[in-house]
Symmetry: D2
Subunit: 360 residues, 4 copies
Amino acid sequence: MDQQVDLVCGAFSSDPEKARASGSDLFLPVARCYGSFEEMIRSEAALPADQRMDFISIVTPNHVHFPPAKMALEHGFHVLSDKPATFNLEEAKALQALVRKSGLLYGLTHNYTGYPLVKEARHLVASGKLGKIRKVVAEYPQGWLATRLEATGQKQAAWRTDPKRSGAAGCIGDIGTHAENLAEYITGLKIEELAADLTAFVKGRKLDDDGNILLRFKGGAKGVLHASQISVGEENNLNIRVYGELGGLEWHQKEPNTLLLKWPDQPMQVYRTANGYLSDAAKGAGRTPPSHPEGYLEAFANIYKNFANAIRARIEKRKLTKDDPALDYPKIDDGVRGMAFIEAVVMSSQKNAAWTKLDV
Amino acid sequence: MDQQVDLVCGAFSSDPEKARASGSDLFLPVARCYGSFEEMIRSEAALPADQRMDFISIVTPNHVHFPPAKMALEHGFHVLSDKPATFNLEEAKALQALVRKSGLLYGLTHNYTGYPLVKEARHLVASGKLGKIRKVVAEYPQGWLATRLEATGQKQAAWRTDPKRSGAAGCIGDIGTHAENLAEYITGLKIEELAADLTAFVKGRKLDDDGNILLRFKGGAKGVLHASQISVGEENNLNIRVYGELGGLEWHQKEPNTLLLKWPDQPMQVYRTANGYLSDAAKGAGRTPPSHPEGYLEAFANIYKNFANAIRARIEKRKLTKDDPALDYPKIDDGVRGMAFIEAVVMSSQKNAAWTKLDV
Amino acid sequence: MDQQVDLVCGAFSSDPEKARASGSDLFLPVARCYGSFEEMIRSEAALPADQRMDFISIVTPNHVHFPPAKMALEHGFHVLSDKPATFNLEEAKALQALVRKSGLLYGLTHNYTGYPLVKEARHLVASGKLGKIRKVVAEYPQGWLATRLEATGQKQAAWRTDPKRSGAAGCIGDIGTHAENLAEYITGLKIEELAADLTAFVKGRKLDDDGNILLRFKGGAKGVLHASQISVGEENNLNIRVYGELGGLEWHQKEPNTLLLKWPDQPMQVYRTANGYLSDAAKGAGRTPPSHPEGYLEAFANIYKNFANAIRARIEKRKLTKDDPALDYPKIDDGVRGMAFIEAVVMSSQKNAAWTKLDV
Amino acid sequence: MDQQVDLVCGAFSSDPEKARASGSDLFLPVARCYGSFEEMIRSEAALPADQRMDFISIVTPNHVHFPPAKMALEHGFHVLSDKPATFNLEEAKALQALVRKSGLLYGLTHNYTGYPLVKEARHLVASGKLGKIRKVVAEYPQGWLATRLEATGQKQAAWRTDPKRSGAAGCIGDIGTHAENLAEYITGLKIEELAADLTAFVKGRKLDDDGNILLRFKGGAKGVLHASQISVGEENNLNIRVYGELGGLEWHQKEPNTLLLKWPDQPMQVYRTANGYLSDAAKGAGRTPPSHPEGYLEAFANIYKNFANAIRARIEKRKLTKDDPALDYPKIDDGVRGMAFIEAVVMSSQKNAAWTKLDV
């Protein structure tokens, strides 16, 4: 989208013919349409340095996140991965160690943090405008799994409801982690402990399709997080509300270009993407004039853009300052927290919503 | 509002002069402006049957709900009371016994149930259109107690944050019960157990000003209820979402004339007050043409209207059928459930959010 | 609603029995349930001064506005009338002369001006916060006459589409005047000339059911006003937007407790009824706490309340200052402007949207 | 965005060094960063057929639309141009003749027609679901030119307010045409005549910054179109409402993924991008799952995607059927209508809003 990244190769299918067909639709040379990620990483690593790929994008089901990430890092490639980072917390910690050891870059597409007004929200909290944060309400209701869709052969439903491919959690792993990541990204606070009540409402489903969670943050803030895939009629209704001692904010993914700011005894303010009154972080994440709505792909692209700029700085041997926007993308530490969140939620729920710590 | 109830007397202040002045503003005869509820009930009871008041309205702080209700019932008057019904669960049960024994009518102004579209929501669930209910999200955030307003002498804040006048809970007793009542009214389900995390965020405050609660309903539905008086910038933002196996609904007190209906693979529908497609219950609760917004006072008046019609039936010795709209107002059993909810929430929170039953 | 006005008599039907039945539903004595307005005015005038009614409310079709108003004034009664004031401009001017001569009070229920935030809008313009006004967009789409409802015997439709009872205009007289009145009330500007294109879309209908109008205000502001009764699916969707050199505002009757304020290079502000930051005029027009929505009946009641207070001042021989809220209700001059608007619109449309002056 | 179009050359500036710098930011070879469109077209035409560009994109001010379009067509290149198509109607007709003669493809980026739900709206009208169309309200208020921004050296404001570069109209040419094009695209109706009142509110400005227009469509529908650049606080608030005999629709660019459908005596329906109940046209224009908002760039890209597919069909010598989505992009005929609209509006306004025909 920003003309900064070129797709140069891919492993689009385990069936070599399908892989080539998909690649060819994208105008890739046949030689770089690989039949597996292993083949891809090995072959690319064998190319001269100025011809090989710079990084890999992992967009596979959860159980195939760690293996390609690990192999790519071991062969000297940066990694940009779908969330959750890995299949379980153990793998996430191993990956964290690998990333640190390798010195390579690792990004995680918690794409909602790419929205300009999510960046504005984070900026407003960090600047102290809302005062000390007291309460957070994070929600991610969906309705697409209200029936047993996985039994119809629908692929997206099949792997997401399968413990062998999705991991210990269903709904909470798939979308609950987005709400968790968003809450921590915006507030800068860490969840300290939680009490979770997970349910599999659809008969025969092995993983949770709904979860309600009480949150306690380090420093005293409290919160509620609920996510659901059986909330009939909801699309991807990720929402967050944050209240501090001085002000509150509200953001909805459905209308991502609007951020509501709430004040005591003053009218609510409606912040909108791309206006001059926004912070540099928010303005830098926009591409169009005010009220030319930016969407999901632009937010996603912001993760890619920053990650690509961070790689470019490496290539050009530029040192980035701590505040450089290129460093504003989710990293392996976010991935580890996400996996810890999933494990804590599942453990808490198994113990009838007992308070459970996030120790990472 | 509906020309069905006349204010004929009152005890507007414990200061007799103030009481008379207030009454006179309302064009009441001096003789019926009493200095206390005791005086009022005794004096009115002494009047000839066709001249005395028919019922009393109790609009005092919580600790002065039970005494006038009890005395009125004992003197043969019907009672319409502010919620919560009493100061604690024990009183509520005593009142319940009294009401049953007296055969008199007792109404509770859970006024939000008076909105036409809340009645429509209840009707839609009862009719089975949403299928078996799985999930409920009920919220009541306010922001007016984000600072220690009670220390400034503000009367409304003073009694609501005072355990001697408000009861065991602050925020949860004041507004959490509205969310609880709304959830049970719309879904027809009973909360079976809950896990609550209450907080008093404002330094020096003795009662909770924020609460987050996990809910489990009889029959298997799950839910979240959160209420707050420190959610800066929120007005009286009572909201509810209910999801069944077949459909979902969403209602906001802020825009009470809109009810959202959500369906799988079909466009969301926007129900609006006063349209022909609504149920009789919802139509009967409206007074104006479509999109002439009805508000809080109309909803409140619907409680009064139904209660007055029930009294009139008594006076006229008409027997009401079970489905008569005149019977659609909150009663002492709702009051007992509300008090049980408050006690369960407080107890659960004291035990670090342990699951606690509602046994009434 | 404010316990300030008592209904003491009425002429509810030309059929004496029906009139008595209606009155009895409202607990009126039979003797004061009259069979015609003539009988009512004569009989009440014959009562002792302290027993007779203070003013009449006219809530009949348009062609029966002037006769009772005239007769009431001639018998010494104040008048509160539905809009439009009369059947045509000539009558309106005659009524204006009568009101002036009698020294009695005349109010017109342009009820939308009773909303608290409409008063705030007027205050904001008057205070100069928006700067010199440049542009006004006023709309009133409805859909209820999209088919020939009058042919089905529906009473409301029948008289509104009948030139003998409604007057020279249909949609424009019924609701276009509300938009006109609202625009002039909020901006304080007078429409100088207009160009109108009226249409009767429904076959066989004699009066316009849709109208689009270009506006030019004295002082240079421009505008658009459109009203419709064939805009299928619209309820009573009265809206207004006003833009000045420094700011803009937007208000929708559908959500009357929200007023949007727009600024260059600053976030939009959302004003809400009943908050402390509002003007005295807006605060004085509210009855409930913030976000306890106030609706159409409250707005209507505000007209009654102010009018009643103005009468009370007369009775008590108190002189009201120019800024007294009791004087804030539409008067005969607004009625004359409304009739002039209707005549100008009809004349312009007959001349193929030629510019036509409002000369009153 | 869809990996279907590669930027292969460009004339980014009349200053050759700047042109090269811009091109190099986009990773273009220096040799194909040209100093003028003339140089570009000549040089590319001189390359072997399989190496030269396929089409040009014109993204310059209005007075530089026709010259490169003309030259490109004359050298055998397809053209995708910003709107309005040309500087005046005469040029537009000349361009139309040229396009027809050349047999080449010409697209116009009326990008708002690229939104999935705009396509749905068009589909719904075409399918007859709304019945015969009666009324259209199209609006495009902006506020960015509420002050004399062009005097500050702001480039975008400078050329848009300059008759030599913008043409006969300011606001109407820049954004009024978008509203006109949207209205005709969705309804399939042609504006037959119009009455326009243009104003330049900002002192010293040579072109209109605000316009109010009455519309009459062929077949009897009526409408209002207003556009403004002095509506303070408005962003790019393009809106449209269309009412037929059977139903109505409403769409706002600000929330482009929502389309409101209105029915008599039925609840309003909320259509949302990417759902299964949409038409093929709307589904084909989406890229993400429901409620992952799509924005302005995606809509813009839809014009490019269809245009690119049409070119590819040419290259591959495939004949497209009349209904092929690749043919769904604005063409030279839309451009001619846009220019005729501008000329009619300006002429009508000069004659004090006299009715003026659109004869093309």
